[in-house]
């Protein structure tokens, strides 16, 4: 082993290697066995996620005290990164569980889907642990590129094609802006490492226009990925066209990855820039909440409605970043975790509405769900109430800590605005609930449940309720993730 690939590097790259090996294995075995064993690939994907979780757990135990630096400082694996790694694995696991039947109905091949899913998780892993601009850029690209393909996965569906095209064009555009911002920061600081960038920028005056432009370009690139206003246009289109089984993963994974990088950037590379940026990001957060919530009011398509609601959620999370104290960061982490359960849960119910011949993504398709499938309707109700932030459910804690942080840092106006928007959001969530409980069903085809989907739904609903009632373990996880910050 050379000095550049020692035991540290090997230890840290094991989860990445596991995911990569399983993705390749999926491609190969899919080619050999898809006739006889079509169910093999999702199983392999689950196995891969499980196998990646083992070294991730070992790394978690190892970095509890001190972070691990590997690849000559390119990766910095700390509690924060590992927290996100587990989140990505959980989201990917749910996506795999819910996808098999969905792809079968869509008559699309199975193998490449799971391979691309695992590859995008590799990108997210790299992104969450990146301690250097080049690595962050590549991680972001691997994640995005795999998702562009996955969004366009339903090749017969024009909507899917179009969604992929829009996502790709805007994604590539935002990456180019991000890269330009990185070039300015590199030029001004002389290094691509986050710590050295911070050290170099600290020596220059903060009001320097070029630093401002560099940070602006970088932030704009990330806001695109977060679907924050005014760069949110792609989200409803991409969510509507993408395979429903994927949308939950996209929404959760990309947001979490982009937030991981945003938090780390402003924590380690641009700490001196944060105060100057907070007011501007407050404006962005406010605009994001406004456009997300009002946009959601107008939708007749459930996927688009949830897309706008996810934009609004990104706005709430940005508020935690605006507050900028430890509670704010903590709030963002808690929010992302509970958001994972409830968003994936809501989309999983939508996946079960997709049957042969029925697309099931209009709000009307929810009509009469209570009579047809009471279990599904009640679970959807729980997920929607949690998304709205109603107290005994998990979603409440995300909002609680964000608002607490805003009050602690004297952002009263923002806190009031956010609370008003939460109240407004109840309207469109209740609209979906009303459709389920009072509408009359237009068709009587049974929902397409698979065992995997049932398992995922059961786990998600259990977590949404249990975390709401016993938040302690989850809060401790988020707390531990910030040790050393």
């Amino acid at each position: 082993m050379s000095e550049f690939f020692g035991p540290n590097e090997w230890f840290v790259s094991r989860p990445l290697a596991e995911l990569g090996i399983f993705a390749l294995g999926i491609l190969l075995l899919d080619y050999w066995f898809r006739r006889w064993r079509p169910g093999l690939t999702p199983l392999l994907a689950l196995l891969g996620i499980g196998f990646a979780a083992i070294p991730t757990r070992q790394i978690q135990l190892a970095v509890r005290q001190a972070p691990l630096q590997a690849f000559d400082g390119a990766l910095r694996v700390d509690n924060f990164a590992v927290y996100f790694w587990f989140l990505f694995l959980a989201a990917a696991g749910v996506a795999v569980l819910t996808s098999y039947r969905f792809l079968e109905i869509e008559e699309e091949p199975q193998g490449e889907y799971y391979a691309l899913l695992l590859f995008s998780v590799i990108g997210m892993f790299v992104l969450a642990a990146a301690d250097e601009l080049i690595v962050a850029f590549l991680g972001l690209e691997v994640m995005s590129l795999a998702l562009y393909v996955l969004v366009g996965y339903l090749r017969r569906d024009r909507r899917s094609n179009e969604a992929a095209l829009k996502y790709l064009l805007l994604g590539a555009f935002s990456s180019a802006i991000l890269a330009y911002g990185m070039s300015l920061l590199y030029g001004l600081s002389g290094s691509t490492r986050f710590e050295e960038v911070a050290a170099a920028l600290a020596r220059q005056s903060t009001a320097q226009p070029l630093v401002f432009l560099g940070v602006a370009a970088l932030t704009v690139g990330l806001l695109f990925k977060l679907a924050a206003a005014p760069f949110h246009q792609w989200a409803p289109d991409a969510y509507q066209g993408a395979p429903t089984a994927l949308v939950g993963f996209m929404s959760v994974g990309v947001k979490a990855a982009a937030f991981a990088l945003l938090l780390r950037l402003f924590q380690t590379a641009l700490p001196a820039q944060r105060p100057g940026w907070a007011p501007m990001l407050a404006g962005v957060a406010l605009a994001t909440m406004t456009l997300g919530n009002f946009g959601a009011l107008l939708q007749n398509n459930t996927k688009r409605l949830l897309a706008y609601s996810s934009i609004a959620h990104a706005g709430y999370m940005l508020l935690g970043f605006v507050a900028g104290n430890q509670t704010g960061r903590y709030g963002v982490l808690v929010y992302l975790l509970v958001y994972t359960f409830m968003e994936l849960g809501a989309f999983t119910v939508l996946v079960s509405l997709r049957r042969r011949g029925i697309v099931g993504d209009r709000v009307d398709d929810l009509n009469g769900l209570m009579h047809k499938a009471p279990g599904s309707a009640i679970m959807m109700l729980l997920f929607l109430l949690s998304l709205a932030g109603v107290p005994p459910l998990a979603g409440f804690y995300g909002k609680y800590f964000i608002f607490l942080a805003l009050i602690q840092t004297q952002h009263f106006a923002l806190a009031v605005a956010a609370v008003l928007y939460v109240a407004l959001s109840l309207y469109y969530y209740v609209r979906l609930v009303a459709a389920m409980f009072t509408g009359t069903a237009t068709e009587s085809a049974p929902l397409s449940y698979s065992a995997g989907l049932r398992l995922a739904l059961g786990a998600l609903v259990a977590l949404t309720v249990l975390v709401g009632v016993f938040p302690e373990p989850m809060l401790r996880m988020a707390h531990n993730a910030l040790i050393g910050w």
Partner: protein, 100 residues
């Protein structure tokens, strides 16, 4: 004896022309080509900074930007072919299935 700023201004001009192309063009392929132009502007800025700082990092970044551009082009053109096959238009304004 060329000031670094000349290279940087050239890079900014190319980048902004790329942004302009992205905004005003309606043909998907030209929009995509405009993104490549933006990336070329980024690359010039990296190489210039790399030379100025006497640091190899900028060159490495350019290398990776090219790699990303290649991968993005492959996927992007494949998506364009898939769209064209189903809709036979390359005008972004006519791609309107995904509206309210």
């Amino acid at each position: 004896m060329i000031p670094l700023s000349y290279y940087l201004i050239l890079s900014a001009i190319l980048f902004c022309l790329g942004v302009a192309g992205f905004i005003i063009k309606t043909d998907v392929i030209t929009v995509f080509i405009s993104i490549e132009l933006m990336l070329n502007g980024v690359n010039l800025s990296f190489v210039a900074f790399s030379h100025f700082l006497r640091d190899i990092g900028g060159n490495i970044f350019v290398f990776f930007v090219m790699v990303v551009a290649a991968a993005e082009a492959a996927v992007g053109l494949a998506i364009i072919i898939a769209v064209y096959r189903n809709r036979t238009t390359l005008n972004v304004d006519k791609m309107n299935l995904l509206k309210l």
